[in-house]
Symmetry: C2
Subunit: 405 residues, 2 copies
């Protein structure tokens, strides 16, 4: 046989075990405080009642739940997804335009399959979700970053990026954006800026893939309506139950512009035939027979409490030259070391002290030296977050002091 690597596709040869994955492996060590993974808090879920639902959907509806389902998902879940989107601010979504996906990662993957040719540009926020970068990489799409501030994408820069790509004759497959409590930055894009982004993309003829896992998890404020709310025809919108119910079921959905619907679900079926049916039925039950909005409100309050504990402890213990921003929602604190400090090597020093975080390099396409780092507070109790900071602060402070401030 040939050399093993000869069997790999060009894309697979380019697949890297990301820093995030290294971190997750480290985070498995007993006693380590993991500020790495964006796992949701599940303690508020009515597990006993959900268990009875699970029993019923197998024992009494097993011929449905255990059999092949429709590629587009069950009508009941597509209806329920519209209810969730209405709470996000997308009024009157048509369930016939909803395609259930096995998690929104699969939605991103299907969007790339549907819209991107190898070598196309995909415009992404700097920084952006590592899982999206991984998917774009396997589709041989070229992730082109555009700058952000604490309100997300900066419209003037976005326009310049798109104009430059057009001038270079590059095809832009789409803009990928997380406008609400972005992963990793936590940025929340205000309504006016969303309209401006939509206008720029319309003028440049670029479709938007809007990923909205965290939109209802604001600490104080009601959700800012997604870009899709007012610009339905130019947005492929991705929703999920992963952060408002449970990621283990792997259930998300896409709200697809009508002209792309048929090709979207055919692409989806080519990848996995249909989403898992028991998961769809359990998610449907949660969204129709339980007070899911009460659950989301309690989750948001718990996340706010955790975020406050983390930020307070960081502010008390970190060198003031480390810039920490308190997000207004979501799962993550995004922070920045002084210029010239790369956080990737610090990951191992921190792990040796019993705490892990994700270095900023993970959230950029080139993965080069980066002074940022991401701390996830969603899954960690406040007192453990504080202990994590007690372990982390000396490592970070030493790195700051080792350099001119």
């Amino acid at each position: 046989m040939a050399e093993p690597s000869a069997f790999l596709s060009d894309r697979a040869r380019g697949v890297r075990q990301s820093a995030v994955r290294d971190v997750f492996d480290l985070a498995m060590t007993p006693g380590v405080v993991s500020l790495a993974g964006g796992n949701p808090w599940l303690d508020d879920l009515p597990l006993e009642d959900l268990g009875r639902v699970a029993e019923g959907l197998v024992a009494r509806q097993g011929h449905l739940s255990l059999q092949y389902g429709a590629g587009q998902g069950t009508p009941e879940l597509r209806d329920a997804a519209c209810t969730v989107m209405a709470a996000d601010g997308i009024e009157g979504a048509d369930p016939d335009l909803v395609v259930v996906t096995p998690g929104s990662q699969a939605g991103i993957d299907t969007a790339a399959r549907l819209l991107g040719n190898p070598g196309d540009a995909v415009v992404v926020e700097d920084p952006t979700f590592v899982g999206a970068l991984n998917t774009f990489n396997t589709w041989q799409l070229d992730a082109v970053t555009t700058p952000t501030d604490e309100e997300g994408l900066i419209p003037a820069f976005l326009r310049r990026t798109l104009q430059r790509l057009r001038a270079e004759g590059r095809r832009v497959a789409f803009l990928y954006t997380i406008p609400s409590y972005a992963n990793p930055s936590g940025a929340l894009m205000p309504a006016e800026r969303r309209d401006e982004v939509a206008r720029i993309c319309r003028e440049e003829g670029v479709l938007i893939v809007e990923d909205n896992p965290y939109g209802q998890l604001g600490f104080d404020d009601a959700p800012v309506p997604p870009i899709a709310a007012a610009h339905r025809d130019q947005v492929l919108y991705l929703g999920t139950v992963s952060k408002i119910f449970a990621p283990g079921v792997r259930i998300g959905w896409a709200l697809v512009p009508p002209v792309l619907l048929r090709e979207f679900y055919l692409c989806a079926e080519s990848a996995y035939i249909c989403p898992p049916v028991p998961s769809q039925m359990l998610a449907t039950a949660f969204l129709t027979r339980f007070d899911w909005q009460g659950h989301v409100a309690r989750c948001a309050a718990e996340y706010a409490r955790r975020c406050d504990a983390l930020v307070e402890e960081l502010e008390a213990r970190l060198d003031p030259r480390v810039l920490v921003t308190r997000p207004a929602g979501g799962f993550f604190v995004w922070a920045r070391m002084p210029d010239g400090v790369d956080t990737a090597p610090l990951m191992h020093a921190a792990a040796a002290e019993g705490v892990v975080f994700v270095p900023g390099a993970a959230f950029t396409p080139d993965g080069g030296p980066d002074p940022h780092f991401r701390l996830a507070f969603s899954f960690v109790a406040p007192e453990v977050l504080r202990e994590g900071v007690r372990r982390l602060a000396p490592v970070l402070n030493a790195a700051v002091s080792g350099r001119p401030g």
Copy 2:
């Protein structure tokens, strides 16, 4: 905005709603006898007991089942997959080389992602599984057919096909094969031929992707060991619970050659992060706490009964110029009209009579006129199968008589 089709990738523009899908839509009409879909028979499943399992895994293990899982799948399910593979004839598989997938369609998709560059050839049986063709199409792989007989791939032709592709300077991503009770042909490849196929592929430096959903569903005989059993390093093997337990859970697995393992699971994670966790736990329970092999034996007996009813009725009612082969296992009867008859147009005539089947064109890459057709007996009770044939026979016989025999 641009024309909608401008947004589609080249691959998505090439995605066709296959004849199979047309048929599935027709099959939804009440009163229609569907001989189209390869749905498994689920009546033998212990639904009450499985319901109690489902309750427990949510009510008492919800913090595990509802949370993100490992991309490679749970250790328990990877162990159980090895037990299933041992029953198939693959002894001593290493659970560390097993990657759980959300159905084996996702396994095929990951194999294409891992191994195929756009424009590469993938060698496939003529005919082959329509779902695999769809996946290869979205990866812009060129499915190149090689002839089969009632014992599957014909080694001499396979060698010639691979030699021709090599002479043309084509990269061959892999050979995709279903050696046991193939979909759609029902062919069972004998052990010696499996070794010969493996030897040819080794000589030509071509990896084998072996898809084995039906291997334990022989009507009379024990499973023929998969190609992977004796040629582990040159086969990426795909297993699934879809036909021996339940397709709705969407659980399959890959047994991956060690040199490809890391890239395989990184490619898989880029597509969907992890397989659904409640599904994994339910499948694990079925494979460890229930008499799953007894269930499989009862399923195989029921499929044999259904197959016999279908073949008997076909032989009694069809023009003898229609060639019907009784398979020795699996879900499908594959039949052939006289040369020159295309079965695709007959699908609509049959639907008008209240019966649907899948025309042979669906199982070839070019989808051109084809005299074959596939009848699925797996999901239909014997008396309904007979009624389906009573409706189908006049349509087929008329098409035969309309031409010189």
